[in-house]
Symmetry: D2
């Protein structure tokens, strides 16, 4: 059963700003509890802090420890209808042992053995895949087979049918990002099963979506309405890499092209609107040139980063990590983030920022704001 | 301290769709736990149901029991800096004993004694007040004093300074609605203290915001940009009542003016956009003529209703209540709602629907959808 | 007949910036003419001036001369199918003898005798009526009868069926504003005939559109989509007058409510969007307190003003007029406008500004821009 | 001089729907004329037709006759400050001998000799260049040099500084499209002179704008606001050609990718919005496979087409032409257009459709609408 009635307990001690706990007040509080009522004055410190105090903690998951777990799951756990995916999620240590990387975001490693199919389904959760290494799996979205290769970003918005199959003789792992916690919390999730196997074994280099949409600034006249999520199912590494390299080259030539010295960045966008690829998630790629240090930034909303290449040091609030390829880390809302690198660093990022932006709750704070 | 590290525990029994719990699998699960990982396949049933299964429960709070609690708090609990407001919140019995009416919405009764001031503050939480009975308090928003009287709806969007003061010799109670749980969950809340007393003791019939904005279809040339939230600080009962009466009169004359037979309804809107009064909350007023029964409706997102006048029977999923003036009830996401009345019923409603709509997660289901 | 082939003639003299008119060049120009070609270099001075130089001239039409013309037309010219309306248009003296008040706007006085019907039709042209004096005509829009009285503004967007009938025993005159020249120039006009008489002889105080829509900030749940033009068919003088009076009162109390000292102004808006009442026309009402002088303003786009009440002096570029009730004047694009009044002045204004705004061509210039 | 007062003359004969021309009516009409008034009833047939009847005529300009004119101008007419451009405009034979291809659009051939500079200026008119053959000119937009080559589309929105220079030893011609007639008519044009020579002699393969923006679906984080016009200054033929070829290939594979059988089409879009490249002009490229015939289409608004490659037969209303490379033709508003081809045809198109769309005046009519 999904819900059970839970008792209300008013725990306020006789602390700061609290009325004295007289017998009369204690009786009133017992009355509140029996009527399912809770006063604001005992809760306001937790509920309405002066700035966001996320329960989520900054945390790092090492790729070198994550990948063997996925490989072992590949040996022990079949993939099929019911479990649906061999996906293993990051559980933020501040979020009560739930499979939530942040309060709103799910991040998992998914693993598919040679010849396996992850069965077709659809759900309202928005999803994407990002490939830090390997290739050989095609994700089939509404019947369109999309190759997955290192560096590719593969968005797949809510309520599209999709399954995956591995056509090679080696396993493949990648990262899934979804808004599962957000939709779980807001009670907006729907789910439907499709066929147990993907509709097509075709394995083309380029999906049909790319053939229609991956031409810069060009839009097919068959699709002229703004779409809530991107119709382009693959953003290839070749393009991302070139865009970032050009920004650093333009900076070196003296033009404004980077967001700060040595820091190139692109956002993956919906070509029908120029906005985020999905209503609830933002995805970006950041490249730091060697010997770059970013200025600290705070932002409302939470992010998950994966190191795509290079090495560096990441500091979130008062925690620091040395990071390298495949490592994943979480930046909770309003925690300051700084990244430094000697030899250069490529970072994939996803965040829930569109939620805050669309609801006029977004704020950001950079050192410039202090001037 | 706000966050503490919590253990991960994989609780999946050897049930449906689960791999057999071999010693190897048990070891793998222990490895997951130590690495802060949780598989999808043990959690998918809870996380990704075929339709929303809210933990929130349908529940009714009786005004006749709520008001005496507030009156007693008026005797025992001072209002002032720190506790900020003498507000007592509805705690949904499915939500773990937290002061959340629904997963996203806060609903509370607030009570102010003669001569009292609720101190000035501002917060990112969007808020409103609705008055089911009484008068005599002025809420002062950014220095503009706004009278509160029976039937009035008083929106007050995030980050505006506001305080309340009671200028009469009798206490007054009203309902506060806020998006506290949503902002708490998404870590987007900011809060600042203002003066301990409201800036002005003026008590005009009409606020300055009404004098500028409450003219149908007319906009002052001093304010031409779309505002994220309504600049109109009071929607008076006189207008709401007349709009509803006109809809029923037009229906009686044979014109399309009601959403179903005998069911008139208006939405409170932002005159600068025609959209909802705030980015996260929708507010409406519904009037059922005598001998009216509404068709069942399901909607993604949660609502809180307050009975303004009349009597009727409300059914949410498999729970039914006889309701009368002041009663408050909760409709969780996707639970079907039906209302019937013999003698007529006036209902104030607030919901989190703009969140789902702006994020393309909204769905609704009415009997027509089955045809 | 719609089109005839016209000869091309290159008229450039041997003037400034022109190449010398050698025999070879003359031969080339004759070649251009025979091939239907015209060079930029002979035309650029006219086509691409440093700032707009409208062919339209500032001009004033006196109500005391306009109204008798309309009355005489009421005696001599029947109203009926074919001619459609007894409307007499202002012909700007700079616009080639065409019935265009400005390059984009039509302004006419319409006159209806007791008992007459102006037959039902619809057209893509956006239209409105404004009543400077009199009453007794109902305009019937899609079957909804709308009373017309002094001070009322009655929008009626393109492609709605409409006719007028005079139910009294006295004639009535009013002003029609349309975007006829704009749609004529851009070839976007469609037109259809309806019945010869209006559908209903009902003459209610308030139209059904007002009963549904004229409640400040309230929207019927039957109509939730943004509409391209306002669904409210009458903006009553009582509301306009009060809104303007409140702005001047608030200014007197020390608050920011007027656009400059003594100058109150409201815009008529579409309650479904907060924007202009129609896609091509903006309508406003301005009230100048006694002893007020406005700062000069230039704006891209053209306007027509009608004096509703009071007296004053209007200056457009280097032309000045003393104006009083009913007088109409034209302000061409980018011509500076100044108005002064000793005894107070009420002005109705309509303009084509939404065209420039929606196409990112709008500019304005006020004395502040020079600082 | 910009404006002169013109006499008003009411020319209505005693025709259909006209009142009998009695002496009294004649006197009234003389009164109208002296007061600068014109009745609707004498003009309505011309002003308010049942469907658009453009004064513009369908017309074809042959490239083989146009280009020699431009070459001869290259010999006789210098390019420089004052005349600004060696551009020769199409003068629609229905538009009174003015240099207007359609009521709203300017289309010209521009010609630049080896080593010449077209001086820097900026204007509110939106502009673009399209290259049907040749190369060697760089257009410098706000200091960014943009190569021009066969098949390239080069947008350049209003109020950006720009000049052109030819770095080769051969002349180059191309097509300019602007909204000069529209801005002339609506009195919204501003113009400023810049330097006599372009700011840079650099001649890179790719402009800086392409290096920042021509990556499919990727957006630099330095530019996150929607821009009213495209920041991408060159849409290269290589991409356009591939997009069209892919559509025809997908169609051959059985997928929906063309707008009708054998008819591929892309729209050039603003990557910051997904909409048209400029507020007033739409630009598209159409490819007809061999043995294709398009269904007749009518649309509100006017278009200019240039044949980029191939041959075919074009029919506009009751006029037909055999067309080949470089030919330009005009389709007035609401005139039906059909194109057929045996050997295949590539067409560049520009139109004023965004004007009608943004002002809710757009309509289209295809054979499907008759079903």
């Amino acid at each position: 059963m999904q819900s059970t009635s839970s008792p209300v307990r008013i725990t306020a001690s006789e602390g700061e700003n609290q009325p004295e706990r007289t017998p009369e007040l204690a009786a009133l509080y017992r009355g509140f509890e029996s009527e399912l009522l809770i006063p604001l004055w005992t809760e306001i410190g937790d509920l309405m802090p002066s700035a966001p105090r996320s329960k989520a903690l900054p945390h790092l998951w090492r790729w070198e420890r994550l990948l063997p777990m996925a490989e072992r799951a590949g040996e022990l756990v079949p993939v099929g209808r019911g479990g649906e995916r061999r996906a293993i999620a990051l559980a933020n240590p501040g979020l009560g042992g739930r499979p939530f990387a942040t309060p709103t975001l799910w991040a998992a490693i998914q693993y598919l053995n040679p010849g396996e199919d992850a069965p077709v389904h659809r759900h309202t959760q928005n999803a994407f895949r990002f490939v830090v290494e390997g290739e050989g799996v095609w994700t089939v979205v509404n019947g369109d087979p999309v190759a997955m290769r290192r560096g590719d970003f593969l968005p797949q918005a809510g309520w599209n049918w999709h399954g995956h199959h591995n056509i090679t003789d080696h396993p493949m792992a990648w990262i899934d990002g979804l808004d599962i916690p957000f939709q779980y919390f807001t009670d907006s999730t729907f789910f439907e099963f499709g066929p147990d196997e993907v509709e097509t074994r075709e394995a083309p280099e380029r999906s049909r979506s790319e053939r229609l949409w991956a031409h810069p600034g060009l839009r097919p006249l068959t699709h002229l309405e703004p779409a809530p999520a991107t119709p382009l199912l693959a953003y290839r590494w070749e393009h991302t890499d070139r865009a970032l390299a050009e920004q650093l080259a333009l900076e070196a030539e003296g033009y404004h092209a980077t967001i700060e010295p040595g820091h190139a960045a692109v956002r993956f966008t919906n070509p029908t609107t120029g906005g985020d690829i999905m209503p609830t998630m933002r995805t970006e790629f950041h490249r730091l040139a060697p010997d770059t240090a970013t200025a600290p930034v705070r932002e409302v909303g939470s992010s998950v980063y994966q190191v795509f290449d290079g090495t560096g040091e990441v500091t979130v609030a008062d925690v620091s990590w040395q990071v390298s390829r495949g490592d994943l880390f979480v930046v909770p809302s309003w925690q300051p983030l700084t990244v430094t690198t000697d030899r250069g660093l490529d970072l994939f990022r996803f965040s829930d920022t569109p939620i805050a932006e669309r609801l006029h709750l977004h704020r950001t704070h950079t050192p410039e704001d202090n001037r």
